[in-house]
C-alpha cells in the first residue's frame, strides 16, 4: 500500500465523518438520530451498533456488487439486492453475537435489529457504488460515515439532556426543539467544510 492511497483514505475518513456528515448534511438515518437521542448512554450504544453494522455491511455489499452484480451485468439491481443482503446480515450478526458474544449482544440490545431499517446503512452501500470506491475504500467510507453518525447522535443526546430542564415555550417543547437543535448542529458542522 503506497503513501498516496493511505493519504486518500485519511481524507475520506475526515470527509465522510465530519464534512459530509451522514445525518447533518446528507439527512440519512434521521429516524434513529431523533428517536434514540434522549440519553447519552443509549445514544452511544446506538452509535456503536451503527458503526459495527455499517462497516460490516459496506464490506459485504461491496463484495456482492463486485462479484455478483457486475459479473452478471445487473448493476441496476443494487438497491433491492443490498436491502436483502443488509437485512439478512443484521439478522445473522444478531444470531452470531447471541451465541458467541452474549455480553456484546446484551450491550447492543434492541439497537441491533433497529438498524436493519436504518437508511444510512443502505445509503452508504449505494454511495460506495456510485462513487466507484473499491472494497477497502468502501469499508473505510462506511466506518467513517458511521463514526460521523455516532458523533452526531452523542452530541445531540448531550444537548437534549441539558435542554430537559429548561423552560421552553409550549409550542417548542419536545420534537420542535430537537429539530431546531439538529439544524443548528448542521450549521455548526458546515464549519468542517474548511478542513478539506
Amino acid at each position: 500500500m503506497n503513501m498516496e492511497y493511505v493519504k486518500e483514505l485519511l481524507v475520506l475518513l475526515i470527509g465522510s465523518s465530519l464534512v459530509s456528515n451522514v445525518v447533518l448534511s446528507q439527512f440519512l438515518g434521521l429516524c434513529p438520530f431523533l428517536g434514540v437521542s434522549r440519553k447519552t448512554n443509549t445514544a452511544a450504544g446506538m452509535g456503536v451498533a451503527v458503526i459495527f453494522v455499517i462497516t460490516l455491511a459496506s464490506a459485504v455489499a461491496g463484495v456482492i456488487y463486485e462479484f455478483v452484480l457486475v459479473r452478471f451485468h445487473v448493476e441496476y439491481l443494487k438497491t433491492i439486492v443490498f436491502i436483502l443482503v443488509i437485512a439478512a446480515l443484521v439478522q445473522f450478526v444478531e444470531m452470531f453475537l447471541r451465541k458467541s458474544m452474549p455480553s456484546l449482544y446484551e450491550a447492543l440490545g434492541v439497537y441491533l435489529p433497529l438498524i436493519t431499517t436504518n437508511c444510512a446503512v443502505l445509503g452508504v452501500a449505494i454511495t460506495n457504488v456510485q462513487k466507484e470506491y473499491g472494497i477497502l475504500t468502501g469499508i473505510v467510507n462506511g466506518f467513517a460515515t458511521a463514526a460521523g453518525f455516532c458523533v452526531a447522535i452523542v452530541i445531540l443526546a448531550g444537548i437534549r439532556e441539558k435542554l430537559e430542564y429548561n423552560d421552553i415555550p409550549a409550542p417548542f417543547k419536545g420534537m420542535p426543539t430537537v429539530l431546531l437543535t439538529a439544524g443548528l448542529m448542521a450549521i455548526a458542522f458546515c464549519g468542517f467544510s474548511g478542513l478539506l
Partner: protein, 265 residues
C-alpha cells in the same frame, strides 16, 4: 429490455434470495440459543406497561429474572395478586400473599392551611425548588411543594395536585414507586392499601415552628401516642408515626389529634 435481461435479473435476485435464506436457515440452526419457555410464558403474564416499577428495565427484564429465579414471582408491583398467581402457576411455586400497597403523600398543607412566605411565579417544577429562596414559597420546610413533579412521573394518572397538595387516587395507584422517587421532599411513601389511619405530615420541626407554618402540621404533642390503646403510635423528632402492623383502626388518634393531621385513608 430483452427477455434474457429480465430472466437474468430474476435469476440473480432469486439466487441471492435463496442463498441468503439458506444461509440464515443454517445459521439459525448453528447458532440456536435455547430460549427459556418459562421466560416467554412469564412475559405474557406480565402487564406489559414496561413501567420499570419492579426495578428492571422493563417487563422482559423482569420476566428473564423471574425465569432464572433471581426475582420473586410477585416481583411485579403493578399486576398485584392476579399476575403473581399466574406467574407462580407457570413457575410451579407458591405465590405467597402480596400485600397491595399504595403511594401516600404525607402532607395536608393545602393553600388554606399552609402559610406561604412569598408569592412564587417561576417555573412550576418541584425539583428546582432547591434553588429557590427558602426551598419554595411554603413556610413549612417539609411540606408538599404542589408543583406536580410526582404527577408528571405517574404512569397511571393516579396522583394529582389538589388545592396545592398532591393527592393519590388509591384505586388507580399501582404502587410502582415512580412518585416516591420523583418527590424531592421525600414526602411520598408506599403504605399498605388496608392502612386505616395515617399521619399526613412530614414535619420534624419543633412544635412552635410547625404551628407557625401550617395549621395541619404535626406538632409532636404526643396525644395520639398516649391515647392509642394498641400502642401503635410513636412520636420521634416532634413527629408521630403509626405502626400499621399494630394499628387496629380504632380511630382514637385521629379523634385526639389537635391539628387533625391524622386522617383516614
Amino acid at each position: 429490455m430483452s427477455i434474457t435481461g429480465i430472466l437474468s435479473a430474476a435469476a440473480v435476485v432469486g439466487a441471492v434470495g435463496i442463498f441468503v435464506g439458506l444461509f440464515l436457515g443454517v445459521a439459525g440452526i448453528r447458532f440456536h440459543v435455547e430460549k427459556d419457555e418459562k421466560e416467554e410464558a412469564v412475559l405474557a403474564a406480565l402487564p406489559g406497561n414496561n413501567c420499570g416499577g419492579c426495578g428492571y428495565a422493563g417487563c422482559s427484564g423482569l420476566a428473564a429474572a423471574i425465569a432464572k429465579g433471581e426475582a420473586p414471582v410477585n416481583g411485579c408491583p403493578v399486576g398485584g395478586e392476579a399476575v403473581s398467581g399466574r406467574i407462580a402457576a407457570i413457575m410451579g411455586v407458591e405465590a405467597g400473599s402480596q400485600e397491595r400497597k399504595v403511594a401516600f403523600v404525607a402532607c395536608m398543607g393545602d393553600c388554606e392551611k399552609a402559610k406561604e412566605d412569598y408569592e412564587y411565579t417561576g417555573q412550576h417544577d418541584c425539583r428546582i425548588m432547591a434553588f429557590v429562596p427558602g426551598g419554595g414559597p411554603k413556610s413549612c420546610s417539609s411540606g408538599c411543594l404542589g408543583f406536580g413533579s410526582c404527577v408528571e412521573a405517574c404512569p397511571f394518572d393516579a396522583i394529582h395536585v389538589v388545592n396545592g397538595v398532591a393527592v393519590v387516587d388509591k384505586e388507580k395507584c399501582k404502587a410502582c414507586g415512580k412518585c416516591v422517587e420523583a418527590c424531592p421532599k421525600h414526602l411520598i411513601s408506599l403504605i399498605p392499601y388496608k392502612a386505616e389511619y395515617v399521619v399526613a405530615c412530614s414535619s420534624s420541626d419543633k412544635g412552635p415552628v410547625t404551628m407557625k407554618a401550617c395549621q395541619a402540621g404535626c406538632i409532636g404533642c404526643g396525644l395520639c401516642a398516649r391515647n392509642c390503646p394498641a400502642q401503635a403510635v410513636t412520636v420521634t423528632d416532634f413527629h408521630a408515626t403509626i405502626d400499621q402492623e399494630k394499628c387496629t383502626g380504632c380511630g382514637t388518634c385521629a379523634e385526639k389529634c389537635p391539628k387533625k393531621c391524622i386522617t383516614r385513608t
